[in-house]
């Protein structure tokens, strides 16, 4: 008998496969000059997907820059994700009716999102919401004071916060072993007096279980949790990076043996929940979906130059009027010249 849980796993697999395809195409777009520097999520599909599945519409999500799967599951269209990486802030204007409506945008300065997530959690607590805040970061981010300050306040204020580390073993070229002498990143929770859990970041089922538990604990007012999901960055750091300069092909090769997408597909197939036909169909669907998203992305109208001033303050200050006029003139020229 097929259970709700099975449905969730199949849905999870579909998302993971879709995002893997999306990711490949995004890298291609960058290579052909149609996207900016892009942070691939290759190898992080299970983590991002589990986060998206575990969160409710009432929860808050505070992403870092590899969380494409989660944002997608929160209701951000793929073309909008491309729009962001294409150098356009409108990519962060997540749809008003989506679960992502109040989520923070991608965060570039490492770890700075974590204290903000604690702030959101304290707002939720103040308002007695039945909601949790999930914030993500990488292993490198755990070296920044922000990581610790956020966990510490979450501990002492008993905040409904879950911090999920994607420990993909590398911070650009710096291996996990040069970030910290702490035996496991989950142990860092100790310093804040909150529970810390390690989980296999290539195992969707395990991730969902751990996340469900931690988020429910948070929603129930029982406080914060730190989760370390152990994965491996199968891609270069970003499209601007060349990982072969600093890591061995053999390590990468080994990591591929354990990659999350195929692993889940095999598990689902064994359980009779997936098969070759469904795989072929779904891959075709992924291609269509991603092609459409790319099409939409490439045909988005350019933003006017005045946008750079129009959203800076709630109302344009008088002091900026002349500057806005200069930009409006530029827009005129672009349109007519």
């Amino acid at each position: 008998m097929r259970t709700d849980h099975d449905d969730r796993r199949v849905a999870g697999y579909k998302t993971m496969a879709l995002i893997r395809h999306f990711d490949k195409k995004a890298v291609n777009l960058q290579r052909t000059g149609r996207l900016g520097t892009y942070a691939s999520c290759l190898g992080a599909e299970a983590i991002g997907t589990a986060a998206g599945l575990a969160l409710t519409r009432d929860d808050y999500f505070v992403p870092y820059y590899r969380d494409h799967a989660t944002l997608y599951l929160r209701g951000v269209p793929l073309h909008q994700i491309l729009q962001y990486w294409g150098g356009d802030e409108r990519g962060n204007a997540f749809p008003a009716d989506s679960a992502a409506r109040r989520d923070l945008p991608y965060c570039v300065p490492i770890a700075t999102q974590l204290t903000q997530a604690a702030g959101i959690a304290s707002a939720a607590k103040l308002r007695h919401e039945h909601a949790a805040v999930l914030a993500t970061c990488g292993d490198g981010a755990t070296s920044r004071g922000d990581f610790y300050e956020a966990l510490n306040v979450a501990g002492v204020w008993q905040l409904p916060l879950v911090v999920l580390i994607n420990n993909n073993q590398w911070a650009i070229s710096v291996p996990r072993g040069l970030q910290t002498a702490c035996a496991s990143l989950a142990d860092k929770a100790m310093a804040a007096g909150i529970p810390g859990v390690q989980v296999d970041g290539n195992d969707l089922d395990a991730l969902i279980e751990v996340l469900d538990h931690a988020l429910e604990r948070a929603r129930a007012g029982k406080g914060a949790t730190l989760i370390e999901a152990i994965s491996y960055r199968l891609s270069d750091h970003t499209t601007a990076d060349d990982a072969s300069r600093y890591r061995k092909a053999s390590d990468l090769h080994r990591a591929w043996q354990n990659e999350p997408v195929r692993r889940l597909r095999d598990t689902l197939a064994e359980a009779g929940l997936w098969d070759a036909q469904r795989e072929t169909d779904w891959q075709q669907q992924c291609e269509r979906t991603v092609e459409e998203a790319i099409d939409t992305y490439l045909n988005l109208p350019p933003a006017p130059a005045t946008d750079m001033l129009d959203y800076l303050y709630a109302e344009l200050p008088a002091a900026l009027r002349d500057q806005r006029s200069a930009l409006a003139a530029v827009d005129q020229e672009v349109r007519h010249g």
């Binding site: 604690a118 959203y311 303050y313 709630a314």
Partner: protein, 335 residues
């Protein structure tokens, strides 16, 4: 914009610190989403007592003593503000605000723009600033220029109880992030009438404190005190100085400044911060650009020296005083 001393039936005498305290209390009473956070602001009422009584009145949930970490305080405030709260964070002294700069510059000032209006960041960060109280090292800083150069932020520096009250109310209501710098040297200086139920003051205009035709003295924050004193000295010699309190350093009300100096032809700008790269430079550059043909003398700046505020033994030699302001004014007049 000109605002000469307001006297009203509802006016109550308050010092600047009390004005801050009353504005906070009123904002909290009128709007549930206003919350306070910072170090020692709860039971202790803040090291200067700016939040005295507020925890008792509004409870510890709305008056939060944070762990000791300024970067955390700013990050918490950004997160809260992103979800519609109106956090008013206190940084205990301006000298400890630097750890919060990344959150302020990279996030608070950019959240609305980054999300094209989907989210906003209506926070206020209050900090006592400036010298003259014989405080320990790092307790006497005037680094407003660092913040005034950050687009998306508003930087407000009151110089009287009434302006502290009205501008703080406005800062809290404002949908943009505001850095609100309080001249600690003036905190307890004197009690002046404040209309406790009066309107917020506008956040993007200068205040003309005194009109005059011979030259324009331009200042903000604590230095307004010496600037007004210098204007008195000059008046005693028959020289009529216009005195403008800039009050809001970003966005800056250039029009009022240019109009005044176009009329008087002479300007002296006074601030406590080091001169090099200080906000006096922006104002002097603006005047020289927009009022060039009206200038009858170079725009002068009377500022702190280009060194850190010295530990307090040498502080009196560092701070611009009436004598230096009067001398600059006279140089300008004799030019």
């Amino acid at each position: 914009m000109a605002e000469l001393q307001t006297h009203s039936a509802h006016a109550v005498p308050m010092n600047l610190l009390e004005a801050v305290n009353r504005a906070l209390a009123r904002a909290m009473a009128e709007d549930d989403s206003v919350v306070l956070l910072g170090e020692d602001i709860g039971t202790n009422g803040g090291v200067f007592r700016a939040t005295e009584g507020l925890k008792q009145q509004f409870g510890f949930r709305r008056v939060m003593d944070t762990p000791l970490a300024e970067n955390l305080i700013a990050g918490l405030a950004v997160g809260m503000a992103s979800q519609g709260l109106k956090p008013v964070a206190e940084i205990q002294f301006m000298g400890f605000i630097y750890a919060a700069l990344e959150q302020i510059l990279s996030h608070a000032a950019r959240l609305r723009n980054r999300t094209r209006g989907r989210l906003s960041c209506p926070l206020v960060i209050r900090a006592p600033y400036g010298g003259g109280i014989h405080a320990p090292e790092h307790h006497s800083e005037s680094t407003e220029a660092l913040f005034a150069h950050i687009p998306g932020l508003r930087v407000v520096m009151p110089s009287s109880p009434a302006r502290a009250h009205g501008l703080l109310l406005a800062a809290i209501q404002c949908p943009d992030p505001v850095i609100f710098l309080e001249p600690k040297r003036l905190y307890r200086l004197k009690r002046l009438p404040v209309v406790a139920d009066g309107d917020p003051l506008p956040l993007d205009t200068c205040f003309t404190l005194r009109t005059g035709d011979d030259l324009t003295l331009i200042s903000w924050g604590a230095a307004i005190h010496e600037t007004l004193g210098a204007a008195d000295q000059l008046a005693a010699e028959g020289i009529n100085a216009e005195v403008i309190d800039v009050a809001c350093l970003n966005p800056l009300d250039r029009d009022t400044l240019v109009a005044s100096v176009s009329r008087t032809g002479r300007a002296v700008i006074v601030h406590e911060a080091p001169g090099h790269g200080g906000m006096g430079a922006e104002i002097a550059a603006t005047l020289a650009n927009q009022a060039l043909l009206h200038l009858r003398a170079p725009v002068e700046r009377v500022t702190g020296y280009d060194c850190p505020m010295p530990y307090f033994q040498l502080e009196p030699h560092y701070l611009p005083d009436e004598e230096r302001i009067v001398a600059a004014a006279k140089r300008t007049l004799a030019y």
